[in-house]
């Protein structure tokens, strides 16, 4: 049986441009969601977590100058810059060779170059075809001279978690030795107006699992995690494996969860079984926790049903919002950081229990040995995902 190790990671959100920077900011209780004044992203003010544009351009310009000085800044979209920086950061700290024929890039996104959908924007240096997700993926793959065309997964808000799951499965199947799982979404008026039309955005920074929660906050971001069958190439000393995982569908409604939590529970149970762990073996849960009424309630039910109601849990979305295609990757990167540091981080925005099934939400940072961690995700289209990370 092949073990799939997780290794170096990167996270880019309003809180910074590396996983380590996120941990620092989270430990300092920094919240990256702030009220964005009405303007180019929505007619009225709305809380968002946005990647600092000037810093992004500076870092990308510097990276390009060092690696490909013949290329121009304006031939890259914002999404492509984020993904290139995120992947490059991970390559720097791991030994995985991205041009190796045994390495695959898996990209997760909802909309890729969301800003090209407008079509009326004049971007002469950017081929309009890059609005297609496969073309966006191909562009990113060829930028790094990857041997294999990247796989692109677009499965709503579980896309990031799926990229990890699919990567670990393809390594287990012997098809590849290493996977760079990366993904993310930028924020434009497209997503903001869409989620507003669903009335799913909170007027204040989101409060996952809290009794006063009233919607999610959107966040912009990108995350990358290395997966490899060879621990020595992972770039981290701890041996942490993808021990189990599962994805299910509610078969109930296209835009709302099955409120019994049954399918979500099945995903969690199956992931635990594959990892040969009992619920009480789990030390920590990195929950999906968006801050919406029904989804948080459903997740709490599913976790409680799985016997996990006492396990310390947080949602990172209170810090930098729901990062869509990046969520599963960024939040897994931070969950893995928790395992490496043996630290648990406060669930930002949470004050008072607000789910019918009690769950153990972290109200403070804590020191705790974390050997087994569960990551959950769910999204539109009734999809649910669960992954178990295990220190060996």
């Amino acid at each position: 049986m092949v073990d799939v190790f997780v290794g170096a990671s990167n996270a880019i959100t309003s809180l910074g441009f590396s996983t380590a920077r996120h941990v620092e900011q989270i430990k300092a209780n920094q919240i990256g969601i702030s009220i964005y004044p009405g303007g180019d992203l929505y007619p009225t003010p709305v809380p968002l977590s946005l990647v600092d544009n000037r810093q992004l351009l500076d870092l990308f310009r510097e990276y390009l100058y060092k690696t490909k000085p013949d290329l121009q800044l304006d031939s890259f979209t914002r999404s492509e810059m984020l993904h290139i920086l995120s992947i490059a950061d991970v390559l720097k700290s791991s030994g995985v060779d991205i041009i190796d024929s045994r390495t695959l890039i898996i990209l997760s996104t909802l909309k890729g170059n969301m800003d090209l959908i407008e079509g009326n924007k004049r971007l002469p240096a950017i081929e309009p075809e890059r609005v297609y997700l496969w073309k966006w993926g191909e562009f990113l793959g060829s930028f790094f001279n990857a041997s294999n065309k990247p796989f692109v997964v677009s499965n709503a808000c579980i896309s990031g978690a799926l990229a990890i799951l699919i990567g670990s499965r393809l390594i287990k199947a012997g098809r590849y030795d290493h996977v760079i799982a990366a993904g993310g979404d930028i924020l434009t008026e497209f997503a903001v107006s869409g989620f507003q039309s669903f009335q799913s955005l909170s007027p204040k920074p989101c409060k996952p699992f809290d009794t006063a929660r009233d919607g999610l906050s959107l966040g912009e971001g990108c995350g990358t995690i290395v997966l490899s069958r060879d621990h020595s190439l992972c770039g981290i000393p701890e041996k942490i494996i993808v021990a189990g995982g599962c994805c299910t569908n509610d078969a109930h409604h296209i835009s709302g969860p099955l409120r019994t939590g049954e399918s979500f529970y099945v995903a969690i149970r199956t992931a635990l079984r594959e990892a040969s762990l009992d619920p009480l073996d789990i030390d920590y849960i990195s929950a999906h926790g968006t801050g919406t009424d029904y989804y948080d309630e459903t997740e709490a039910k599913a976790l409680s049903w799985a016997g996990l109601e006492r396990v310390p849990l947080n949602s990172f979305k209170g810090y930098f919002g729901h990062t869509l295609g990046a969520a599963g990757l960024i939040e897994s990167a931070l969950a893995i950081a928790s395992m490496r540091n043996n630290e648990l981080y406060r669930s930002a925005g949470f004050e008072n229990p607000g789910t019918s099934q009690p769950i153990n939400i972290l109200t403070d940072h804590a020191v705790k040995e974390v050997n087994h961690c569960l990551k959950t995700a769910s999204g539109f289209g009734g999809c649910n995902a669960a992954i178990v990370f295990k220190k060996i």
Binding site: L110, W134, F151, I254
Partner: protein, 239 residues
């Protein structure tokens, strides 16, 4: 593992009658909807003269006597996915043999949900006529087509949409094989559902495991699941 054409056992090649080896994955039923024609297991079932994609999908819906009012709310990508699954599964007990949790849906397409992406974008183009609508926005993710099939047929297992330039049988082969090996699925709906503007194409099939099929039905019609066979079925002119 390369395969020979002789391993493709279906339609005209059925006479080769090579038995699959233990644990082989088989395509036990497949359909295509393209060029205004519907075919099931290689036999053309319906040809339409409809002048638009909308009219075509309505006519297919009518021809198969489908009664599912939610169909008319769907975007064209979901309509195509829904119709494809209906054509494949109508009056059969293919899925009933398996618990919903053990059935997967793994699909691919090229354009994601771009048609409704543009429609949503159009609704917010002008701040004086600003009408973003949840009934449009919900279709701006491609896995809603998975959800529509899942809801209709009570499919509750693994589900993923991959975006690739063309039908990628290798991706399906490796990923679905691993889902079976890992016992994550006992049956999987898989294929290519592409729809953007006037261009549409669907190729959907059922994948089952050889030992399971023997228990439930004879081995008259099957195609061994491999990259070459999927490519053959996808490209096959007559089918």
């Amino acid at each position: 593992m390369m395969s020979t054409k002789a391993e493709l056992i279906c339609g005209a090649l059925r006479d080769f009658n090579i038995l699959p080896s233990k644990m082989d994955l088989l395509i036990t039923r497949y359909m295509k909807l393209q060029d205004h024609r519907v075919s099931l297991n290689g036999n053309v079932e319906y040809t339409s003269e409809a002048e638009s994609v909308d009219a075509l999908f309505r006519s297919v819906y009518g021809y198969y006597n489908i009664d599912y009012p939610k169909f008319f709310k769907m975007d064209n990508l979901c309509k195509l996915a829904f119709l494809s699954a209906e054509i494949l599964l109508q009056d059969t007990d293919f899925l009933q043999k398996y618990p919903g949790e053990q059935i997967g849906i793994i699909l691919e397409n090229a354009s994601s949900s771009l048609e409704y992406d543009r429609k949503h974008q159009e609704s917010i183009r002008d701040r004086n006529q600003y009408f973003p609508s949840p009934s449009v926005f919900v279709y701006t993710i491609p896995n809603i087509m998975v959800a529509e099939i899942a809801i209709r047929h009570k499919v509750k297992g693994e589900n993923t949409v991959f975006i690739s330039e063309q039908f990628d049988p290798e991706l399906i082969y490796h990923y679905v094989s691993e889902l079976f090996r890992n016992q994550r699925v006992s049956c999987c709906l898989s294929g290519w559902i592409e729809c953007y503007g006037d261009h549409y194409q669907s190729f959907l099939f059922i994948i089952e495991q050889e030992d399971k099929i023997k228990r439930f039905k004879g081995l008259q019609e099957y195609v061994i699941l491999n990259t070459l066979n999927m490519e053959e079925l996808y490209k096959g002119k007559s089918i």
